[in-house]
Symmetry: C2
């Protein structure tokens, strides 16, 4: 049996080239591993996680994580199922266990116990939650909002990329914390409607409309106390110009800049001084010790309906991943974007629930 | 007797126009006040403080302080001497007392007790210290470095505008706090030599040399833990690219941007995320409750020679102020820049010491 892999081929100069013949990635087929070392498990990948951070992993700049090596399988998390267990791990894993695997972009992966976290699917839950609300995505929103943004009752909280996987959780957490106004920035009318109607945001601004800065101003009559930023660039700039005194800007990402050959800093930087703004970048991994308690709280909010989830699943198997990643930077998704490498059969899911 | 005043005339579009006939300011002569209201004092201005923040006071943008009104005397602090005392204040002030006065740019001013802070000149001190190391300038360095930058033993601390009034105090405070390396950025060879030879900085980089970014890199082999920024723009950008993990960036000013028609944000903003940088703007007035203790500590450091002072006094009377302000933005000064409105006679100084 074979195992398809997507290999990191050529560093992109600006945007990712999704072509599998001459682009950023290439397809490679190897035999599926037949033997599993004693301290490993073999997993079958079902859903690949697509994350805005991935573009940064392809840049050989000093960063929070080493870049992916050229010629290596593209890095990424997945929801996968255990299909073979090494002898040392037989007490830890059973065949059919769902795991969040650090598998990379391939159909099958041999991984150690630290790279295959077992997923406990709670009643009403789905295995894929472990990659969205109950995974790194949700944790990013949780720590960024609670530890960096620190919204207080009465605050106006703005979230950019608000219809994205992290943004939508961040905004909902702000509401749970008693924020007076929760405002989202998103890139389409549909997304804005989703934020207001489905998630209960007080307002949403479509930054693709020509007067979006005016709309943002109107949506934040008492300025911005907390800004959770996934986008950077012009949007960060506009929000700085609306910063309230002592505002906290939680800098989670800058998706507008990742593909830019020449990134733009926020021109309204003067407001950092005049309004005493604290801007703080963060990486979710730094909060790893607090994950268990955070996941418990997120799961409880999810179960109570205080947090709603949304997934955007791209069909087409592993080969669909490069184009899906390009689409992610274009804002194609509402909610967590995943590539379906192998569908989950009804029976397969039920067996574990 | 007359009182010359400099009036805010026309908002500058980018740089200040120092011409007193058709520029940003105009000269105006009024009679010197002859009577002092019971709750006021009349002061004679000797030294005007020139501060980078002044350019911002001429901009009608939302800021930490209301802009100067057109047609009003230009705002500014001075070292002044009491020449007449209102009857209610006779127990508080004596003729000849030195004060830091919120006089504005004029030769004489009638001010209330809150706008005329008596200066206690310590042994070995000078009245003008109250406007530099022992005034708002020194306090800005003190709180920016200690409360925002928080240098720890072993840290690499970089200061921009390091030969300016605030920067030079900030760098010296970092050294007192046990920083491993203190590096200054300044705009001339002479300033850099002054920082290293006179103030004991470990290195200084002249940002006007073509390879200054390379020099900055070499001067910060262990990256930058604390950056005290007075300059913004390209220098902030370069320092972000050298930020160490968990760096603290104390944003005090952005002198490079004040006159810019189109300000530039830091393009290397991505490092805020990847290195978990905290950038925090601050305004010294927010720390007013802590001034007395801070001034005591600054005075003790000054007396012990742990902090060295430097003044740059511009002669030529009140009329010299507009050009001097333009020169301040060009980096003409090393140390605290003041305009000598009226010299202090030897006897006059001695009388108060």
């Amino acid at each position: 049996m074979s195992n398809k892999q997507i290999i990191y081929n050529t560093p992109p100069t600006s945007s990712i080239d999704p072509s599998l013949s001459s682009g950023t990635f290439r397809l490679h087929t190897v035999p599926r591993p037949e033997q599993v070392p004693a301290d490993k498990v073999l997993v079958r990948v079902h859903y690949l996680s697509l994350d805005p951070a991935m573009r940064q992993w392809l840049t050989a700049k000093r960063s929070y994580i080493a870049p992916v090596e050229r010629g290596a399988v593209m890095r990424g998390q997945s929801i996968a199922q255990v299909v073979a267990v090494g002898s040392d791990l037989s007490s830890q894993y059973q065949l059919g266990d769902w795991v969040v695997a650090y598998s990379g972009w391939q159909e099958y992966a041999v991984v150690g116990a630290r790279e295959a976290e077992k997923v406990a699917v709670p009643p009403g839950g789905r295995p894929t939650d472990a990659m969205s609300v109950l995974g790194v995505t949700g944790l990013t929103a949780y720590f960024g909002m609670l530890e960096v943004g620190q919204p207080r009752p009465g605050d106006t909280v703005v979230v950019s990329g608000a219809a994205g996987a992290t943004g939508m959780v961040a905004g909902q957490i702000a509401r749970i914390q008693g924020a007076k106004r929760v405002v989202g920035l998103a890139g389409s009318k549909d997304k804005c409607e989703f934020l207001v109607r489905e998630l209960g945001f007080d307002a949403a601004v479509n930054y693709k409309e020509p007067d979006w800065r005016k709309q943002l101003k109107e949506a934040t009559p008492e300025y911005i106390d907390v800004f959770f930023d996934n986008v950077g660039g012009e949007i960060l700039d506009a929000c700085l110009a609306r910063a309230a005194r002592d505002a906290r800007f939680a800098i989670c990402g800058a998706i507008s800049q990742y593909n830019a050959a020449k990134p733009q800093g926020p021109a309204s930087f003067m407001f950092v001084i005049s309004q005493r703004v604290t801007m703080k970048g963060f990486i979710v991994f730094d909060y790893a010790k607090k994950y268990p308690a955070a996941l418990k709280e997120l799961a409880s909010w999810l179960a109570q309906g205080k947090i709603k989830r949304k997934e955007h699943i791209v069909p087409g198997g592993l080969e669909a991943a490069p184009q899906a990643l390009v689409d992610l930077y274009q804002g194609a998704n509402t909610g967590k974007m995943m590539v379906e490498v192998a569908p989950v059969g009804e029976a397969q899911t039920k067996a574990k629930l």
